[in-house]
């Protein structure tokens, strides 16, 4: 909601008499009818925006096309048009290949991503709420340590984690992928900002006077108010884990434990021996995108306002 309002604002600044005009605000975007340069600029703008839409969506279209082709014509029949489409046959191949290995990977990815993101959101939500609502001596120091952690990309942490876990002998277990996924400095940042922006101190105080415990206040009042922030934190971590490659690559050796990313990567290395893998990779890639797109579309109301929260503070 906040996003929509704010987007509309700069627009009013562009048209000179726009406010009194009778045209609906959505249609007349800064185009000064009758003025040639204005029209040229508008056309140019529309062209650029459309070209980028093609750039960002085109490859996904090509993936759909390629995934529906018979294996022997992937590299001979062009990229833009369907060729003897056989999506069901190809889906059949991936369901049966190696005892349904792909769906094992899909399940693994879902377990890592949902489990990791849920725990990370819960613990970051609690900590972020506390940092926002309670004053104590080293509050900012404690917070800033973690914010510094935002500068460490996941890839940079994978090798050190491997070195440590190799010593602890937990390399190769589910835990070696799961445990590191529950820490997200970005989630803490987001949850603190969300709590500051959306949980009024008076409400918390009122809860205390009514005799509610701090845990109760958090779970039944704060969580609801912070929800957009929590959803954004969850989604960001979910995507991070779902798409993570290096960490599971170094940690896991048993292919039954692989997430999709590592599985597809392995298949890609084997295509020279097994032709059908060419198709399976493309179909597998296509399937793996679906859950994320669904999650983003369904939760977009939340993460949009959640992202806006981050913007207010940053």
């Amino acid at each position: 909601m906040a996003v929509t309002v704010a987007q509309a604002q700069p627009r009013t600044g562009t048209g000179v008499t726009r406010r009194t005009g009778s045209s609906p605000p959505g249609t007349a975007v800064g185009e000064r009818t009758g003025q040639l340069p204005g029209r040229v600029a508008a056309t140019l703008k529309a062209t650029v925006l459309m070209l980028f839409a093609i750039y960002f969506l085109g490859p996904v279209y090509c993936l759909v096309i390629a995934a529906t082709k018979p294996t022997d014509s992937i590299y001979t029949s062009g990229a833009l048009l369907p060729y003897r489409p056989q999506l069901w046959t190809n889906l059949g191949y991936i369901v049966t290949y190696d005892g349904g290995l792909y769906f094992r990977w899909l399940l693994n990815s879902a377990t890592y991503a949902i489990g990791g993101a849920a725990v990370s959101t819960l613990i970051a939500g609690a900590a972020g709420y506390y940092l926002a609502m309670f004053r104590f001596k080293w509050r900012e120091g404690v917070f800033l340590t973690v914010i510094g952690g935002m500068l460490v990309p996941a890839t940079a942490l994978a090798l050190p984690l491997f070195l440590l876990f190799a010593r602890l002998n937990i390399v190769g277990s589910y835990w070696s992928v799961m445990l590191p996924s529950i820490v997200s400095p970005f989630a803490l940042f987001l949850c603190r900002v969300a709590a500051e922006a959306s949980v009024p101190g008076d409400l918390v105080e009122a809860g205390r006077i009514d005799g509610a415990s701090e845990a109760r206040i958090f779970f039944s009042i704060a969580v609801r108010l912070m929800f957009p922030g929590l959803v954004t934190a969850f989604l960001a971590q979910f995507v991070g884990i779902w798409n993570n490659y290096l960490l599971p690559l170094v940690m896991l050796t048993n292919k039954d434990m692989y997430p999709i990313t590592v599985g597809l990567g392995t298949w890609q290395g084997q295509t020279t021996h097994t032709d059908i893998l060419e198709t399976l990779i493309l179909v597998g890639a296509l399937i793996s995108v679906v859950p994320l797109v669904i999650a983003f579309v369904f939760l977009q109301r939340f993460w949009r306002s959640g992202l806006a929260l981050g913007g207010v503070k940053a």
């Binding site: 996003v3 704010a6 987007q7 604002q9 700069p10 600044g13 562009t14 000179v16 975007v29 703008k45 925006l49 980028f52 839409a53 750039y55 960002f56 969506l57 490859p59 996904v60 090509c62 390629a66 062009g78 990229a79 819960l122 613990i123 609690a126 900590a127 506390y130 080293w138 404690v142 973690v146 952690g149 500068l151 460490v152 890839t155 940079a156 090798l159 050190p160 984690l161 440590l164 445990l179 529950i182 820490v183 400095p185 701090e214 845990a215 995507v239 490659y245 290096l246 690559l249 170094v250 597809l264 990567g265 890609q268 990779i281 493309l282 995108v289 992202l307 806006a308 913007g311 207010v312």
Partner: protein, 305 residues
């Protein structure tokens, strides 16, 4: 770790029930996150630093049992005198120099254009730009890898035969995957920053007769500057860690050696059990990343004020 010190020292000698309850609350709320942060974030980093100071020696001949001895900074010496490491650094520096400015330009330009587009259309376009963010780097690389391969490339339909996986073009090809993957995310980031600009500024600029271009160039751009700097810093740190794209592309292109980026070199050292060397590379990369970002923030700050 942080919590332990915080609680013990702030308790002091007065130990009232209320105080104890407050501390229990603090431990309950902060404990889980901070213990996980200490265990799976700070500890591995510390351990990597420790590991980088060790060196493997074999006792009892070439096939003997390896033991580890403290070796000071000698692993770093080995890293810095390794031509493969420098070749990797060259790759990522080249990559950063192209990727970072390009990414910022795409993100900012598209966000500014969408800012003066009808809200409904703008939202639709922004969502379509954002789609690749939901596509994993692995899938993105497989996807583009197919598009780069002559025969399944759309270019070959127009009878343009360029080998995008050849030695000279493989880096731009990887840059393209990055832009595609993160471009839409940057647009959303910049848009979010734009929405925080107070409307009054636009009103007064309009009264002063500012054009649309003027508005974008003199008002919006300077005001979202902190976000641009932040995004650039994250891009710089992230690109130093370049791994997934080239690692996967190496399976379909002969132009990518196993030491193409420092992280690929570190990974290949892991498989030969050369942990200390890999640790030294990781630590070096992290330090270079921090150094670069602090320098960058410094330089941009100085220019602003």
């Amino acid at each position: 770790m942080t919590i332990a010190t915080a609680t013990s020292s702030s308790t002091g000698r007065r130990r009232t029930p209320a105080r104890a309850r407050a501390l229990a609350t603090r431990a309950g709320f902060l404990g889980p996150f901070y213990s996980a942060f200490a265990l799976f974030f700070l500890l591995p980093i510390g351990f990597a630093v420790y590991e980088s100071l060790l060196s493997q020696r074999r006792v009892g001949g070439v096939f003997g049992r390896p033991i580890e001895v403290f070796a000071g900074l000698s692993q770093f010496g080995a890293v810095f005198s390794d031509p493969q490491f420098w070749s990797g650094i060259r790759t990522v520096v080249l990559y950063v120099c192209v990727q970072a400015p390009l990414m910022a330009t795409v993100g900012v330009a598209l966000a500014l254009l969408l800012d003066v587009t009808a809200p409904r259309l703008a939202r639709l376009l922004r969502t379509s730009y954002f789609v690749p963010y939901a596509v994993s780097t692995v899938v993105g690389t497989i996807l583009w890898g197919t598009l780069y391969t002559p025969g399944s490339s759309p270019l070959s339909e127009f009878h343009i035969n360029i080998d995008l996986l050849s030695h000279s073009l493989v880096l731009p090809s990887i840059v393209n995957i990055g832009i595609w993957e993160w471009g839409g995310f940057n647009v959303v980031l910049m848009t979010t920053a734009l929405t925080t600009i107070p409307t009054e500024i636009f009103d007064s600029a309009r009264v002063d007769g500012a054009s649309k271009w003027g508005l974008a160039w003199y008002i919006k751009l300077p005001l979202i500057r902190p976000t641009i700097v932040m995004s650039l810093v994250l891009t710089i740190i992230g690109t130093l860690q370049l791994f997934t794209e080239p690692q996967l592309m190496a399976q379909i292109s002969d132009s990518i050696p196993s030491y193409y980026t420092p992280n690929m070199l570190a990974y290949s050292q892991l498989s030969s059990d050369n942990y200390s060397f890999a640790a030294a590379i990781s630590v070096t990369l992290a330090l270079v990343g921090l150094l670069l970002s602090f320098t960058f923030i410094r330089v941009t700050r100085r220019r602003t004020y």
